[in-house]
Symmetry: C2
C-alpha cells in the first residue's frame, strides 16, 4: 500500500494490471529470493523483507481472491480474454486458490500444487472451502481491495498485513476507501522496517 | 492518522471538532507528559511516544495552520462563534502561529509565547512569515488535511510525520484524499513503535 492508501494505480488494464504507477508499490518484492523462487527464478535477496514474504508463503494453506485479481475481467468466462489468468502453467501460489465470481466454472488444476476453484455462492462459502483446504495453515486473502473490504466488513478478517511503500501515489485503487463502517479497533502486533518498505501487522480486535 | 487514512472523523462540529470518533486518533497523545505540560497539567507518561512529541515541540519554531483548524469556522470573523479559537489564553503552541484565511484580522497575542497572525495572501506567504519567525527551528504544519495537501502539492513540504493509530475509522477527513498528483517519492527516515501508535517519518524526496 502507498502511504496514501492505494494498492494499485489508476486505469488498470490487461497490459497494466496494477494500474499506472502501481508497479511502484511492489518494487520491494521483486528482488526477493522467496518471490523469485515462486516465479521459477534462482537467486535473489535474503533480507528482512524476504523473511516477511517467506513466512507468509510458508504459513499459507489456501488463498482467496476476487475475479478481477484473477483475470482482470468480468462477466462470462467465454468473453474474458484473460480467463486463464496471469500466472501461466505453474502459478506462484502452490496451494488451492478460491476465486470469487458470479460465473460458474470447473476447477482448474495447475502445476506445482495450485488449483483455481470458482466460488459463486459468496464470501462465506469461499472462506469455508478455503478453511477446509488450508488444514491448520492460514488462509491468505490476496485481494483485491473490494474483496478485502467485503471480508473486513463481514468481520471475517483476523489479521491485516500492510506493506507500506514510501510513496504517495496520488490516485488509484484505495484499500480502505470509505469503508462506511463503525470504527474497527486493531492491535498492532508487529513492525518490520527496511529501506524499501514498512511491514505493519495488526490483529482485528473488534468488528464495528 | 487511522490506518485507513483519516485524521478526523466525519461530521465535525464546534462541539466535536475532531468529528465523530476522531478523538480515537489522538488518544495516544493525551496521557503524555509533554502534551500535559503544554496544557498546564502536571505529570503524565514519559515513554517513547512522549519523546516523539517532546522532540517535535522542541524543534518547532513556528506553526502554520488552516482557518478551520484554528476556529472550525469560515467566512467573516465577526460571524465566527469560535473566533478566539479552542485554546484559551495560554495556547499550547508557545511560538508564533500563522493562520491561513481569506479574511484579514489583526494579530492576536496570547500568553506563553503564542501569537496568531492571519495570513491572507496564500500558503507561500505564510511559509515565508513562518520561516522568518522560526529562526533555525522547524516550521510545523499543524493541519488540517486540506492545508497539508496544498503545501504538499506545491512541493513545500520537506518531511512528513505520520502517527498511525491502530484503528480503521471507516470515514472522515482523509489526509491524502485523492491528491490527484503524479507520484511523490518518499524516504522513510524513522519508525518508532509503541503499543498505542506507530510513528512513521518520511522525507519528501521529489515533487511530482
Amino acid at each position: 500500500m502507498s502511504l496514501d492508501g492505494y494498492v494499485a494505480g489508476p486505469n488498470q488494464t490487461l497490459e497494466q494490471p496494477l494500474g499506472e504507477g502501481g508497479e511502484r508499490l511492489h518494487e520491494w518484492v521483486f528482488p526477493l529470493a522467496s518471490f523469485r523462487e515462486r516465479h521459477g527464478l534462482a537467486g535473489g535477496e535474503t533480507n528482512a523483507d524476504d523473511e516477511v514474504v517467506a513466512e507468509s508463503l510458508r504459513k499459507t494453506g489456501a488463498v482467496v481472491m476476487g475475479r478481477r485479481m484473477f483475470s482482470g475481467g468480468e462477466g462470462a468466462w467465454a468473453n474474458d480474454p484473460n480467463a486463464d489468468a496471469w500466472w501461466g502453467d505453474d502459478p506462484p501460489f502452490r496451494v488451492p486458490v478460491f476465486v470469487l465470481t458470479h460465473h460458474p466454472r470447473e476447477t482448474v488444476v495447475k502445476q506445482g500444487g495450485t488449483s483455481f476453484t470458482f466460488v459463486t455462492d459468496g464470501i462465506e462459502a469461499a472462506l469455508e472451502q478455503a478453511r477446509a483446504a488450508a488444514g491448520d495453515k492460514d488462509i491468505s486473502l490476496a485481494g483485491g481491495a473490494s474483496v478485502a473490504q467485503q471480508y473486513l466488513k463481514a468481520g471475517l478478517l483476523d489479521e491485516l498485513q500492510i506493506h507500506v511503500a514510501p510513496v504517495l501515489l496520488g490516485g488509484g485503487v484505495s484499500l480502505f476507501d470509505r469503508l462506511g463502517i463503525e470504527p474497527f479497533e486493531l492491535e498492532r502486533t508487529r513492525v518490520i522496517e527496511s529501506p524499501s518498505v514498512t511491514h505493519l501487522r495488526f490483529n482485528v480486535v473488534r468488528a464495528g
